[in-house]
């Protein structure tokens, strides 16, 4: 990607393993990704692809034990997150980078008021405010996410799921972070509430100019709000580019499989074409391409050789050995 743009989050060669009872679970295996200022990046992939681990690593929050960051470099606004003291890390978390978690039901502390939980973040990062001012700011945040400010003194169990997620978003945005990581922010919500919450998140993001990574497996959400897309499989990025690149000029067989798994409203008699098989056990990854066993284009080379990342345009990257043959095309791109 072009260098003149400001990079707010840069992850380079990240390797994260979980070591459980002698097994090594290779969750993230050499992941490189950059987020430009003001852009929204969709990180797509199925369960277990390493999306959440990557997000947690960005805040240096990978639970240790059992998680170990083996290798890599993560910079947020030029600050090296992996080589910081605990104190410095606390100043970065919530201020430079904030995270929205998947399940709002369990993400809020049940015995503290929501106002307190929002204000806590403000008090840590803006110590010049006294506790009353911080609390007032917290109530402003509540209003911003569409909750009446007098509900600040209420507890999480008095809110519905969608409302709780709004509170979680208010906590994350309380100090106007440079980078926001949203880990499947709507997965646990009803469809109608999903749209509301996404819409609100999108508005706030545009209002504050927050650079965002949205982790999801819903391609609809990606098409809706992302500028860039990175597709993740077995701990690696296998295709990355602008929304247009990935959606309209799909290159990787796995990405093609993701699109084929979506129902087509125009052809309602068409059968769904799910990707056969399961993602390989991250404790026991194959030597070659991790997708080879499920890939209809796979050759013997795929099973022995780790695919290289190749740039096929200024913004579009794909990691697939099949493109060693200059004439190779996936089915999706053969169609007019």
């Amino acid at each position: 990607m072009s260098n003149e743009k400001e990079i707010v989050l840069s992850i380079k060669d990240l390797v994260v393993h979980y070591e459980v009872d002698g097994d090594v679970i290779k969750a993230v295996n050499g992941m490189t990704i950059q987020l430009e200022k003001g852009r929204t990046l969709g990180l797509v992939g199925e369960t277990g692809a390493g999306k959440t681990t990557t997000a947690l690593a960005a805040l240096n929050l990978v639970p240790d034990p059992p998680g170990i960051i083996k290798n890599g470099e993560i910079q947020i606004c030029g600050k090296d997150v992996l080589h910081m003291s605990q104190k410095e890390l606390e100043m970065v978390r919530g201020y430079d980078i904030a995270m929205i978690f998947q399940d709002p039901m369990t993400s809020l502390n049940p015995v503290l008021t929501v106002g307190f939980q929002i204000a806590e973040s403000i008090r840590i990062h803006e110590p010049e405010l006294n506790s009353k001012q911080a609390y007032e700011r917290a109530l402003d945040m509540l209003e911003l996410v569409g909750i009446d400010r007098h509900r600040g003194s209420e507890y999480p169990h008095q809110f519905s799921g969608g409302m709780k997620q709004r509170v979680v978003i208010a906590i994350a945005l309380a100090c106007n972070p440079h980078v926001l990581v949203a880990d499947e922010p709507t997965t646990a919500l009803d469809v109608t509430i999903q749209a509301q919450v996404l819409d609100m998140m999108n508005n706030l993001k545009n209002k504050f100019g927050t650079s965002t990574i949205i982790i999801t497996h819903a391609l609809g959400i990606v098409a809706d709000i992302c500028d860039d897309v990175a597709v993740m499989y077995a701990g690696r990025i296998i295709e990355q580019g602008t929304l247009d690149d990935v959606f309209n000029r799909t290159r990787h067989p796995y990405t093609e499989g993701l699109f084929n798994s979506l129902p087509n409203i125009k052809d309602r008699k068409a059968e769904l074409k799910p990707i056969p098989g399961l993602m390989p056990d991250p404790a026991n990854l194959p030597e070659g391409c991790a997708f080879a066993d499920r890939c209809s284009y796979a050759t013997d080379v795929c099973r022995t050789k780790q695919p290289e990342q190749r740039m096929i345009s200024g913004t579009h990257m794909v990691a697939c050995t099949a493109y060693d043959d200059p004439n190779f095309m996936i089915e999706r791109s053969r169609k007019p």
């Binding site: 978390r93 806590e120 507890y155 979680v168």
Partner: protein, 318 residues
């Protein structure tokens, strides 16, 4: 809320009735009566019969229970056979000592068990955790009276730094408090550990860390506030239980408390003392349980809202 407290207090009446019946029957089921426990060698048969008649011991069990309950309804717990003093007065003169010992024991227990439990939870699966578990099991399995005797031998007999019994000096409470506290410590430590382990894996701690909250505050505020609910439950239940059950420790250290008074009462078949003390203890325990429930309301907002919904000042009971 007030209505709830009243309801709970009214419930005390059937509890006291049930407990008194049970205790009265249990004491009478034991062989012999007060007169048998006296030295009757130089008494004539007539004198013995007269004593029995004086205390009403010659009447059938049901009649005696009836008399006892009638007195109880008037708030009269009767007089001790052996001392002739009103049981209520005797109890009140001893309960202070028992309370003193129980508070001492609870302090020993809390100061050791809660930090140990938190520490073990934080270092789950490590050698510290195992060491704390061993300590806990040890504390649980050592019989009170044995530990009491060992402490007396070491500190009173060999080192001669602490008194072996009685309640004459302020230092007298140390050994019985350690003895009583050790047994409770194990249970409280295990509870603290397991609830903290549970709380430490909760998602909301991750949310707190992601906000930039310092690790110390994550543990001491975010996790502990949640773990407090079961911890308070155990501590106060134990407090109530040791108010009631310090008898062994009190006996070993000749601590002039209620426990010792009851044991002496049982040995002398002094029915009014045993019954009266146990009924009073029963009331104290019930009140402590009520206090626990009220504390829950203070600590756990989820319980609080089930009593009162603040919106528009409307109150509703669920």
């Amino acid at each position: 809320m007030l209505q709830y407290i009243w309801k709970r207090l009214l419930l005390l009446i059937p509890v006291v009735l049930g407990v008194s019946l049970f205790i009265f029957l249990a004491v009478n089921a034991a062989s012999g009566d007060y007169v048998d426990s006296l030295n009757t060698d130089d008494m004539t048969k007539e004198e013995i019969i007269a004593i029995r008649a004086h205390y009403g011991l010659d009447k059938p069990l049901l009649v005696r229970y009836g008399h006892y309950m009638l007195d109880l309804l008037h708030g009269n717990l009767g007089k001790s056979y052996s001392t002739g003093l009103p049981v209520f007065e005797m109890f009140m003169s001893k309960i202070g000592n028992t309370l003193y010992l129980t508070i001492g024991a609870s302090l020993v227990c809390w100061i050791l068990a809660i930090p140990l439990g938190i520490f073990a939870a934080q270092h789950q699966g490590t050698i510290f955790d195992n060491a704390a578990s061993v300590l806990g099991v040890l504390g649980l399995s050592i019989p009170n009276f044995w530990l009491g005797l060992v402490l007396i031998i070491v500190f009173a007999q060999y080192l001669r730094i602490l008194p072996s019994g009685g309640a004459e000096t302020a230092a007298s409470v140390i050994l019985p408090a350690i003895t009583l506290g050790t047994g409770q410590m194990a249970v409280l430590m295990r509870t603290t550990r397991s609830t903290m382990v549970d709380c430490l894996s909760q998602d909301y701690l991750r949310t707190a860390r992601a906000k930039g909250v310092a690790e110390k505050r994550v543990i001491n505020l975010h996790a502990l506030r949640n773990a407090l609910i079961p911890i308070i439950n155990i501590t106060l239940t134990q407090f109530a239980a040791s108010l009631a059950g310090a008898a062994l420790t009190e006996t070993v250290f000749s601590w002039p408390g209620v426990g010792k008074m009851i044991i002496d009462g049982i040995n002398q078949r002094d029915t009014p003392v045993v019954c009266g003390s146990l009924i009073l203890k029963c009331i104290i325990i019930s009140l402590t349980m009520l206090l626990i429930d009220l504390l829950f309301v203070a600590v756990d907002p989820r319980v609080r809202t089930s009593f009162v919904t603040v919106k528009g000042g409307k109150k509703e009971n669920v």
